[in-house]
């Protein structure tokens, strides 16, 4: 299983699935931040915009994620302010440029984006920026991997572990996968050659029954990770139980702002109430994210659920399992019909 969505995309872009020998199959894991963000989060963001007239600043791939009350693209079409930014700092700069407006940054992502978001919040506090806040939904990868590996249905022999998250985490936190659960682990880079080497290293571990955490991506990842980045996360955020789309609640797997940074918490500044949101009917994203079914096994795939009007989160992001699968191995071209 490749845990990270960027790996999924790189694997499909390079056409690797067709090159694998029989008996070797890659399964996409839960590592696409957009995919696992629940629709309640979108509904909250949309309510913030509608009820408090804030400007929402977001990474691009959140724009098409469906909540029960529509997408951020729909919201922008209705005339509400939604700005696409490339980093959390971009959102803070927006706040400096538009002091008369309230900017709320949609803080999603894993340990890769969390340090920069933490740094942005600290920076905003130092510069006394009063019109900037975040709607926190960052997630932690290790608790999700724990939940995944505890699932008795799951049959995965090895993990292609994420390169960029591991730049921050290092290799230590994954040891339980190899030592307690006896699965092969390789922290892998994102070039085609990296991924192929990572797969080879996994196969060698499995054949020798020598399960450990190896670092293929050693030009970027140190065993100790980046302690400074982790210190930023710890200073600004605290872990709490949180909902993953397709997984439900995973203990201590989300990040919320610590009390001393409460002034930057959009929810505390602009309270909203939203209705409970059930998963879309027929959508099997939950099983896809667990690696239990292929995207094509979902009845909505390719018919009701396509990249331009996604039903489930895995179709939304270009990194999502279903979008990657759709883009690269779809056999029919809609235009002809």
């Amino acid at each position: 299983m490749e845990v990270c969505g960027t790996h999924t995309m790189a694997i499909h872009n390079a056409g690797l699935p067709g090159l694998l020998p029989p008996g070797l199959k890659l399964i996409s894991g839960p590592g696409c931040p957009v995919c696992v963000t629940p629709s309640s989060y979108l509904d909250t963001a949309i309510a913030l915009s509608r009820e408090h007239s804030v400007v929402l600043a977001t990474f691009g791939d959140m724009m098409r994620v469906p909540g029960t009350s529509g997408t951020l693209t729909d919201l922008r079409n209705e005339g509400y302010a939604v700005e696409v930014v490339y980093s959390s700092l971009g959102a803070a700069e927006l706040a400096l440029r538009q002091p008369e407006k309230e900017i709320v940054f949609l803080a999603v992502g894993f340990e890769t984006t969390a340090p920069t978001i933490a740094a942005t919040v600290k920076c905003a506090r130092e510069k006394k920026v009063t019109n900037f806040s975040i709607l926190a939904a960052q997630k932690l990868l290790i608790p999700a991997l724990k939940a995944l590996i505890d699932d008795p249905e799951l049959r995965i022999d090895g993990f292609i572990l994420p390169g960029h998250v591991s730049v921050v985490l290092g290799s230590e936190p994954y040891r339980f996968i190899a030592e307690e659960h006896h699965r092969a682990c390789v922290i892998t880079g994102f070039e085609s050659a990296d991924i192929m080497q990572g797969i080879l290293m996994l196969v060698e571990q499995i054949e020798k029954r020598d399960h450990r955490v190896e670092i293929q991506y050693d030009r970027a990842v140190q065993p100790n990770g980046n302690p400074k980045a982790r210190a930023y996360i710890d200073e600004v955020f605290a872990p709490e139980d949180t909902v993953w789309r397709g997984f439900g609640i995973i203990p201590q797997s989300g990040l919320v702002l610590r009390d001393e940074f409460a002034v930057f918490d959009a929810l505390r500044r602009f309270p909203v109430t939203i209705q409970e949101s059930p998963e879309p009917e027929g959508c099997r994203c939950g099983e896809v994210l667990r690696g239990l079914v292929e995207p094509s096994e979902c009845s909505l795939f390719g018919s009701e659920c396509v990249p331009e009007s996604p039903v489930g989160p895995c179709m939304v992001s270009t990194e999502g399992s279903c979008a990657a699968f759709y883009k690269s191995s779809r056999k029919s071209v809609e235009l002809k019909s």
Binding site: G15, P33, V34, M63, N77, H164, S317, T318
Partner: protein, 343 residues
């Protein structure tokens, strides 16, 4: 809800204008419903008009680029080269251009004259005359700075018959230079991205390459298309469907500059989906492919030209990419807006 009712309730989104699948739908399922011109239905970049035995290429385009000034160009140079290139892609020698402005109240005169200077210089380079124009000024907030429309007309060269429906099995597909720089240059400027490496828009009129190419190779040239919105991926998918052929591309020989590749990697963008404004794709008879390539490579503006693929016998309308690693994948057109990724 019926389809008709669904459509009534729909609204136009930015994705409808981004050159991908949503825009294809808008054009085919909405616009074409109202007009039955066979020329329009070809959906080429320019229409072919026959007037008193003269064959004319006729094209119009509107320019709303933000920001209006960007590295390597501006809305003025784009307004000329965009329309000139569309006329060229139909095999026309561009002759006359119209120029229409919608300007927002409060727009700086200094910026307007800078744009006009750029239009003059680009028109000179494209050897086209601006012969008619229009100006409208709207209130503050009713437009965003300045919008420009240009319409171009040119005479189609004798013996030339190019169009999206003319791709033939076996045709070699050549791209005239490295792709994606325009898209990245505009995106970086728009979002204040501080990029290392000097990425400048490729926007330029293509007459100095296209006209001699057509004069020399004439009938052996079957299709030409400038990969603007939606990039090479969209252009080739459109051609594959229009000509009912399959297309196979070789990723290893598609020219992309190192800085563009690096930015695409960081932002999760595909260079094949990025717009170019000074590049063209040309489908030629395989017998002349090498000559066309060496002819283009000798021109300064096409020095990175490369033969990137060929037309295959299937009528699937599919574009297949053979990857650097030896894998294969289907190259689709982007669904909607190109959106940068989280990480």
């Amino acid at each position: 809800m019926s389809d008709a009712h669904k459509r009534e309730a729909e609204k136009i989104t930015l994705a409808h204008g981004s050159g991908g699948r949503m825009m294809q739908r808008l054009i085919r399922e909405v616009f074409l419903e109202y007009f039955d011109s066979t020329e329009l239905a070809n959906l080429d970049d320019a229409a072919e008009l026959i007037i008193d035995k003269s064959r004319l290429a006729f094209s119009t385009d509107t320019f709303v680029v933000k920001p209006i000034f960007f590295p390597g160009g501006d809305i003025g140079s784009l307004a000329v080269s965009g329309t000139v290139n569309d006329v060229l892609m139909k095999g026309g020698c561009p002759l006359y251009l119209s120029l229409a402005f919608v300007i927002e109240e409060g727009f700086p005169m200094q910026d307007l004259t800078r744009i006009l200077e750029s239009i003059r210089a680009t028109a000179k380079r494209a050897e086209i005359d601006v012969v008619t124009g229009d100006t409208k000024v709207v209130g503050r907030g009713e437009a965003d700075g300045i919008f420009i429309n240009t319409t171009g007309v040119g005479v189609i060269l004798p013996g030339v018959d190019v169009g999206g429906r003319n791709a033939k099995v076996g045709d070699a597909i050549i791209v005239s230079g490295d792709i994606g720089a325009h898209g990245i240059a505009v995106m970086a400027e728009r979002n204040g991205l501080k990029l290392e490496g000097d990425i400048r828009s490729d926007a330029a009129p293509l007459n100095r390459a296209v006209l001699p190419l057509l004069e020399r190779f004439g009938e052996a040239v079957h299709v030409m298309r400038d990969p603007t919105r939606g990039g090479v991926a969209t252009a080739l998918n459109e051609i594959a469907v229009s000509s009912a052929v399959g297309i196979v591309l070789e990723e290893a020989v598609i020219p992309v500059s190192e800085p563009v590749t690096a930015v695409c990697d960081i932002l999760g963008l595909d260079p094949l989906c990025l717009p170019c404004e000074g590049r063209f794709l040309v489908f030629v008879d395989p017998a002349v492919a090498d000559d066309v390539l060496s002819f283009l490579s000798d021109l300064e503006e096409c020095s990175n030209a490369s033969k990137i693929g060929e037309v295959k016998g299937s009528s699937s309308g599919e574009v297949q990419l053979n990857t650097v690693t030896g894998g294969k994948r289907l190259l689709d057109m982007p669904a909607g807006e190109m959106l940068p990724r989280i990480c």
